[in-house]
């Protein structure tokens, strides 16, 4: 499903910062992988590469056997929009749009009419428990509420792959558990492949496998249960 072959990602002049160093990975369909590691260890960089937003300095990334580097910009964009849900660490909500409009935006970009898009967005916001915040703008909402809008937006296409960058980082443990249960349900219903970045060991236990990064390298892999291939 998701395959990384010797992926390097360097930043800065002359590649001064090695965000990812020679990472090779194979993640099966429906597998849930927790990515852990200290700040700056390359977790977000990994997710950006998998969703095709960023390109590796060297190495290859394949999704369903297709090398992302071989897709043109538009094809990669469509893949990201429809097949990969991304929950960003910093939410990345548009400040001028309401919660409902933010969640509906990927549908609108797909060419779906405003009415239908907002109906679907409303349903999704109900699923993350924000039915009463539809018309609020992000700056009128708490961190946890914003996080849930970002989650709703990532799930709006029921994507087969979900990349979540600390989705429970801003939530109290109860709401965080709710989100994890939501992801669990999604996985059960749609066999969603999930890559979950977290600092929380309890959250990591929700996954099949834990990947530990340090300075851009995979330093340890733990299999918690047999991955459902």
């Amino acid at each position: 499903m998701i395959e990384l072959k010797g992926v390097n990602r360097l930043f800065g002049e002359g590649g001064a910062v090695k965000a990812l160093a020679d990472v090779s990975l194979l993640i099966g369909r429906g597998e849930r992988v927790a990515v852990m590691g200290p700040s700056g260890s390359g977790k977000s960089t990994l997710l950006n590469l998998v969703c095709g937003l960023d390109e590796p300095t060297s190495g290859a990334i394949l999704i369903d056997g297709i090398n992302l580097a071989e897709l043109n910009d538009d094809a990669r964009t469509r893949l990201r929009r429809e097949k990969i849900g991304m929950i960003f660490q910093t939410f990345n909500l548009l400040p001028t749009l309401t919660a409902c409009e933010n969640v509906a935006l990927p549908l609108r970009l797909q060419g779906i009419g405003k009415g239908q898009a907002e109906r679907r967005a409303t349903a999704m916001l109900e699923r993350v428990g924000l039915a009463d915040r539809l018309a609020h703008r992000p700056d009128q909402l708490s961190g946890g509420e914003r996080q849930r809008i970002a989650i709703a937006r990532a799930l709006i296409f029921d994507p087969p792959v979900l990349l979540a960058d600390e989705p429970t980082g801003n939530l109290d443990s109860q709401t965080g558990d709710e989100i994890l249960r939501l992801l669990d349900r999604l996985h059960d219903e749609l066999n969603t492949t999930i890559l979950l970045v977290t600092h929380n060991e309890d959250a990591a236990l929700f996954c099949d496998r834990i990947l530990r990064l340090r300075d851009g390298e995979v330093v340890r892999e733990e299999h918690l249960r047999k991955a459902a291939r």
């Binding site: 960023d54 910009d73 964009t77 929009r81 991304m86 960003f88 990927p106 797909q110």
Partner: protein, 404 residues
């Protein structure tokens, strides 16, 4: 969404499009006034009537853009005299109807009622065939009236209605500058030309006119047309009249005319030249102004792109194609300038309406000017939006998302 982004920067957007607003307003205003002037001039040509040729001392349409030459001609050219008129009639009277008139503006009185600013036309008897005035009741002026300088007159409908609200004017007297004239005819209404009534006039015999005002001090107007039943083309009428007048004045072949020949055709040509001159000066100037305004819009859009880098990054990250971003910014800048253009048209429309109601002329914004304004203002936004939109669409999403 594009509209929302414009609204959220309402003040700055307003300042940015001020150039567009003014540019479009000026063009639309001038186009409307030109169109109105054209109508006025065409009406004047119509008042002259087809096939009628007029000779004046100096007519403004021979001196476009040269007010000094016009003033000089008015001062230095010889007046057209009644003797010249008689001589011309001798020369060409067998084929053309030749008439003359003199104009003055005077108050007209009857009892304690006074009408001010009434056009007094002193004319030869055949003036009836050389103007659009028709007698509805009573009789026309005759050669006899002219020869004997009889104090008789024909009055327009406005004069009739104001001075004779409850009496039949025929056979009664009115006072022109202290002299009494008997009303012998009432003219059929001419209606109004662009808001101004044409029916406030009094016609008297030319002979009577020169007795009252003197004929030495002023230049008369000569009118000619083909005699009824004779096949003489309009061009021939003009040539005969011109040559007759040159002979009358003894002009040699090398000398220019020292009088003006006016026809409906020459008036229309004059209107066309006025429009061309104004267009030639105004439209390039406005073009430059609009380009400058476009550059201002481009800069404001560039600033907006860098301010909204993060928003663009987010859109790219959640599945907007680069072409979507390009389109979004093109639509934004187009909407921005279109709004400015519409505002400009609205302002011009208001001014045109104001000018119309102040002058009484029927003025309006022509449809072509409206469409042109909409087209041009949108086009400016689209053209000058290309650079900012391309910059926006080429942003690296990773870099854009890291911007705070």
């Amino acid at each position: 969404m594009a509209g929302g982004a414009i609204l959220s920067h309402r003040l700055r957007s307003g300042l940015t499009v001020i150039g567009i607003v003014i540019g479009i307003a000026v063009v639309t205003l001038v186009a409307s006034l030109l169109e109105g002037a054209q109508g006025f001039i065409n009406d004047t040509a119509a008042g002259l009537g087809p096939g009628i040729v007029r000779i004046d001392k100096a007519s403004f349409q021979d001196f476009i853009g040269d007010a000094q030459a016009f003033a000089e001609a008015r001062a230095k050219r010889p007046d057209i005299t009644i003797d010249e008129f008689r001589g011309l009639r001798q020369r060409i009277g067998d084929r053309l109807e030749v008439g003359a008139r003199l104009d003055a503006v005077l108050p007209v009185q009857r009892g304690n009622r006074t009408l001010k600013g009434i056009g007094i036309q002193g004319g030869t008897a055949n003036l009836a065939e050389l103007t659009t005035v028709r007698v509805e009741r009573g009789r026309q002026l005759t050669d006899f009236d002219d020869e004997y300088r009889r104090q008789v007159c024909i009055i327009g409908k406005d004069v009739d209605e104001y001075l004779f609200p409850d009496a039949d004017p025929l056979g009664r007297k009115i006072k022109l500058g202290g002299t009494e004239y008997e009303v012998v005819g009432v003219a059929a209404p001419l209606g109004s030309s662009i808001g101004a009534s044409q029916d406030g006039f009094v016609q008297i015999p030319l002979g009577a006119f020169s007795r009252v005002f003197g004929s030495r001090s002023r230049s008369i107007t000569i009118l000619t047309r083909a005699k009824a039943g004779l096949a003489v083309s309009n061009d021939e009428v003009e040539e005969l009249t011109r040559i007759g007048m040159r002979l009358e004045r003894g002009l040699q072949p090398g000398n220019d005319d020292n009088f003006s020949v006016v026809t409906a055709k020459s008036i229309a040509a004059f209107a066309g030249r006025i429009t061309a001159v104004v267009g030639l000066v105004l439209f390039p100037l406005t073009g430059i102004a609009l380009v400058v305004a476009g550059v201002v819009v481009m800069n404001m859009m560039l600033a907006s792109v860098s301010e909204r880098t993060r928003e663009i990054g987010i859109r790219l990250a959640i599945g907007a194609r680069r072409s979507d971003i390009l389109l979004q910014f093109l639509v934004e800048s187009t909407l921005l300038t279109l709004t400015g253009g519409l505002l400009g048209v609205l302002i011009a429309g208001g001014l045109v309406w104001l000018a119309g109601s102040l002058t009484g002329y029927q003025l309006s914004v022509p449809l072509w000017a409206l469409l042109l304004a909409i087209g041009v203002s949108s086009l400016i936004g689209t053209i000058f939006g290309v650079v900012p939109a391309r910059r926006a669409s080429r942003l690296d999403p990773i870099e854009a998302l890291r911007r705070e």
